[in-house]
Assembly symmetry: C2
Homo-oligomer: 482 residues x 2
C-alpha cells in the first residue's frame, strides 16, 4: 500500500508542477522566521514560514506607497497550489500596479514548524490553529510593509477562498490596521454549531447532482450505498468490488467498504461539486469542464447491482483518472498529490474548526448520518488526544451578527457550492457586501477569467474590483491623517 | 526582611478590605473555568478565573435583553481593588438598569493558573499575556451573555483604566461581536517603541511636580539623586540614610541606594502623580487630597544635604505612611498591599508590554537614563529567560493609525497623568472619541463622583454617558437585524 500511495503522490505532484508551468504565474519563493507560539512566552522557538512574492507590477520610487499589496491568506495546502489557482489576483496586479503576496499557512506545504515531526500529536500539532496562522500572516504583513509613523503602510487587500476566505475575512476583522479590505470567497464562516443546520451542505450537494444531467444521478448515488454494503458482507462480494474498482489496495473487510470507501466517495462527490467549473481544471484533480455533469452523464439511467457498480466506477474515473495516468484507485485520500493536506485539516476539524455536517437520506442522497458531537469528540480524542472546542471559532471571530464596525469585506458565494450553506449570504451591514454567483462552484470568482465563465462570475469580479478601488481610495485619504 | 515585608502586606491588605467595606460596593464573587492556553491545543488544562457580579439593577423578564452589561476589563491586580475604585460604573448601573461585571486578569488577584507555582518562569508565567487575558474575558462574556441565534446578546460596554483601559479598547477592537463600546480611560496604547518619545512620561511627571506647589519641589527631587548618591558611598553615609528614612531593611551597599531606593522613589513619584486626585483616596496607597501638592509642600524651599534628606523623608511619608500605621519604609515595592502585582507586570513588561521610558535630566527631574532596548532585553532574559517582543503590541492591536473600522471607543486622558503622553490624544476617526481632562490624574473619570471633582471630569463623565447611550441605541436597532 505504501508503495502504491507514493506512486499516486508522485503522479499528483508532477501534475501540480506541470500545471504551475502551464499557468506561468511566476514568483520568488522566500521564508521568514515566525514564532511557533505567538501567544505565550513559554518558549522562543521559531520556524521558517514560506511566502511567494511577485513585485514586477508594483510602482517604484515615490509612487510605491500607492501600490497596493494583494495578499492571499494561505489555506490548508501548499501555497503554490493556491497561487496557481487564483488567477483573479494575477489579472488584478498589473491593473492596480500591485505587489502579489501569497503566504503559506503553518503546517501545510513547506511551512512545517517541526519538520517531519510536525504531525506528532498534540505536542507539536497543537500549534496548528487559525489564530496562530493569522498571527503569522500579520507578522509577514507588518515586516514586509511597515508604516513609518506619520505615513501609513501600503494598502493591503486580502484574498482567500474556502478556509482561506475565512482567514481573509478574519484578518480584516482582527487586524484592521494591517488589511484595508478582504475578498472572502466561498468562506463558510457560519458553518458552526448552533448557527447553520448540519444538513444544508448535503442538501445543496444533492441538488447539484440532481440538476447536472438527469435526476437518475442522485438516485443512483443514493442507491449505491446499499448495493456496496451488500457486496461488502461476503468474500465473493469484496472480490467483485476489488475487480470492478481496481483499488490500489484490495478491500478485505466490510469496514473497508462502509468506512474507507464510503468516506472516499462522500469526499469525491463534495470535491466534484466544489470544482464544478465551466472549463477543464486541475485544482483538486485534473477534471473536464463541468465534472459533475460528466460524472452524472455516466450515471444517467436507472442502474442496479453490478451494472450500477460498473457505471459508478466509470463515473468516478472522471475524478481520479481523467488524465488516464492512474493505474489503480487509491481511496485513502481524495486529495492525493494536490498539495492539500487532509491530515492537517482533520486535526483542525477536531479542535476549533468543528463544522458539523450531517445527512438524513431523505433530503439528500446519502445514508442517514446524524451529527453527534459526543461521538465526534470521542473520535477526536482517540485520534489526537484533544477535545474539540466547537464554540471556539464563533467565540473568536463572531458568527451570525456582523457588528457595524466590521467593514470592507466582500463575502462571495457560488450557489452551486455546497459550502455556500454555511457562508455569509445576507448582511444588514452596508459595509459588508454580499456577492452571489448563481452558476458558481467553490470560489470560482478567484480563478482566472475564462471564455466559458458564466456572466454572474464576470459580474462578481467587476464588483470585487469596484469595491477594492473604493477601499483603496478611502485608505489613501486616511493615509496621512491620524 | 521577610517578616517586615509581611507586616507591610498585612497592613496593606487590611486597608484594602477596610476600603471595600467603606465604599460598600457589593457583589457576588464567582469563578469560571477557562483554558490556560486559548490558542494552542498542546494541553487541555484549565484554571478558575474570578469575576464579580452585581445583578441588582438589571431589568428582569422580557426587559432583560435591554439591560446592558457594564464590564470592567481587569488589569494588573486584585479585581476587587478595581471594583472598589471604579465608582463611575456603580453610579451608572442603576441609571442604565445594568448588570455590573468585573473580570479578574489571569495571574493577578486570586486568578492564578498554577496556584502558588504560577510565577515559576517562564514555563508557567509564559501564559501571562494580554491576548490570553482578552480571550479569558471573551469567554466569560460569551458564557454569561450568549446570543440566541436570531437575537443578539445583551449589549456589553467595556470599561477599564490604565492597562485595563488598553484591554477595554482592545477587546472592542478584537471582539466587536461581544462588546458594543468601550470607555478606555488613561490607556497608553501608544506608549510603545517607535511611536511615542520615551522621554514624554518623565517630562509630564516633572511638570506635575513643578506646578503642584513651588517649583523648588522638582528642583529638590532633581538634586536629591546626587545627594543620596553621595551618602551611598560610605558606611557613615549609609548609616545616616538608614537613620533618617527608617528603612524596613537597612541599606548596606551603594547599589541599595542607587538601584533599590532610586527605583522606589521613581515609582513613588509616578504613583503620586497618577493618584493626584482632588480628594483623599486609597487606590495605590492611602493619601490625602492632591497628594503631589502635599508632597511638594514639604519640599517647598531650596534644600540641600541633610536638610534635603529630612524633607524628602517627610514628603515620602505622604505616600507610605499617611495613615500613620507604617513602622518603617519598605522600598521593595511601591505597591505593597494594594493588591497590585508589580511582579506580574514586570514580566509583561519583559515580553509584549515593553513601554519605553527614559530621562535626560534636563527636561525632567531625573538622572539621565537613556532607553536601551538591548540592555533592557538582556535584563529580561537574565530575570525570566525570555526575550521581549517590543513590536508585539503594535503588531497585534495597531498603534498610530486607528482604522475607520474601529468604532465606539472613547479614549479619555487626564493631562496631569504622566501616562497621557502615550495615550490617544487625537483621532481623525469620528467614531473614536477623545476626551481630555486638563485637571485630571490617572483615570479620574472612572472614579465615583466627588464634590471636589473639577468641572472637566464631570463633563467627561457626561460625555461618556451620552456616548454609551448612543452605542446602546444603535446596538438595539441592530439587535434583530442581520
Amino acid at each position: 500500500m505504501t508503495a502504491a500511495l507514493w506512486v499516486a503522490l508522485i503522479i499528483g505532484l508532477s501534475t501540480a508542477v506541470q500545471h504551475g508551468a502551464t499557468a506561468s504565474y511566476e514568483y520568488q519563493i522566500k521564508t521568514i522566521d515566525v514564532p511557533i507560539d505567538h501567544f505565550t512566552y513559554t518558549g522562543e522557538a521559531t520556524f521558517k514560514l514560506r511566502y511567494l512574492v511577485n513585485d514586477t507590477y508594483a510602482q517604484g520610487g515615490n509612487d510605491l506607497p500607492n501600490s497596493p499589496i494583494l495578499f492571499y491568506a494561505g489555506n490548508e495546502g501548499d501555497i503554490e497550489l493556491f497561487a496557481q489557482n487564483t488567477g483573479f489576483m494575477w489579472e488584478l496586479a498589473p491593473k492596480l500596479k500591485a505587489t502579489l503576496l501569497f503566504v503559506e499557512h503553518r503546517f501545510y506545504g513547506h511551512s512545517l514548524p517541526f519538520g517531519n515531526a510536525s504531525y506528532e500529536s498534540p505536542k507539536n500539532l497543537g500549534y496548528l490553529t487559525s489564530e496562530q496562522a493569522l498571527a503569522d500572516f500579520a507578522l509577514v504583513l507588518r515586516t514586509l510593509n511597515p508604516p513609518n509613523g506619520t505615513i501609513r503602510a501600503r494598502p493591503v487587500i486580502a484574498f482567500g477562498g474556502s478556509y482561506g476566505g475565512m482567514l481573509a475575512a478574519w484578518i480584516r476583522i482582527k487586524y484592521p490596521h494591517l488589511v484595508a479590505g478582504a475578498i472572502a470567497a466561498s468562506a463558510p464562516i457560519r458553518q458552526f454549531q448552533g448557527l447553520t443546520d448540519c444538513g444544508i451542505f448535503n442538501q445543496i450537494l444533492t441538488s447539484v447532482y440532481q440538476v447536472a444531467y438527469t435526476t437518475e444521478c442522485a438516485t443512483n448515488i443514493r442507491r449505491s450505498w446499499t448495493t456496496l454494503q451488500n457486496y461488502s458482507t461476503s468474500a465473493d462480494g469484496l472480490r467483485v468490488l476489488n475487480e470492478k474498482f481496481k483499488f490500489c489496495t484490495n478491500l478485505t473487510r466490510a469496514t473497508d467498504v462502509t468506512e474507507t470507501l464510503f468516506d472516499y466517495l462522500t469526499d469525491v462527490y463534495g470535491n466534484l461539486a466544489m470544482i464544478n467549473y465551466p472549463y477543464p481544471s486541475s485544482f483538486l484533480a485534473p477534471v473536464p469542464a463541468y465534472p459533475v455533469r460528466e460524472f452524472c452523464g455516466r450515471l444517467d439511467k436507472n442502474y442496479t447491482g453490478v451494472e450500477l457498480l460498473d457505471h459508478l466506477q466509470s463515473a468516478l474515473s472522471i475524478y481520479y483518472n481523467y488524465d488516464g495516468k492512474a493505474t489503480c484507485l487509491n481511496i485513502n485520500s481524495s486529495y492525493d498529490g494536490t498539495g492539500i493536506s487532509d491530515r492537517g485539516w482533520d486535526f483542525q476539524a477536531c479542535t476549533e474548526m468543528v463544522m458539523p455536517i450531517c445527512a438524513d437520506g431523505v433530503h439528500d442522497m446519502f445514508l442517514p448520518q446524524p451529527w453527534n458531537m459526543q461521538t465526534y469528540a470521542d473520535k477526536c480524542f482517540k485520534k489526537y488526544g484533544v477535545h474539540p472546542r466547537p464554540a471556539a471559532a464563533l467565540l473568536n471571530y463572531g458568527g451570525e451578527f456582523l457588528d457595524a464596525s466590521i467593514t470592507n469585506i466582500i463575502f462571495s458565494n457560488g450557489l452551486l457550492d455546497p459550502w455556500s450553506g454555511g457562508g455569509v449570504l445576507r448582511s444588514s451591514n452596508e459595509n459588508v457586501k454580499i456577492v452571489l454567483i448563481p452558476e458558481g462552484a467553490h470560489h470560482l470568482d478567484l480563478r482566472a477569467s475564462n471564455p466559458a465563465d458564466p456572466a454572474s462570475v464576470t459580474r462578481a469580479r467587476a464588483v470585487h474590483v469596484q469595491n477594492i478601488q473604493k477601499w483603496l481610495t478611502e485608505y489613501r485619504k486616511q493615509r496621512k491623517v491620524y
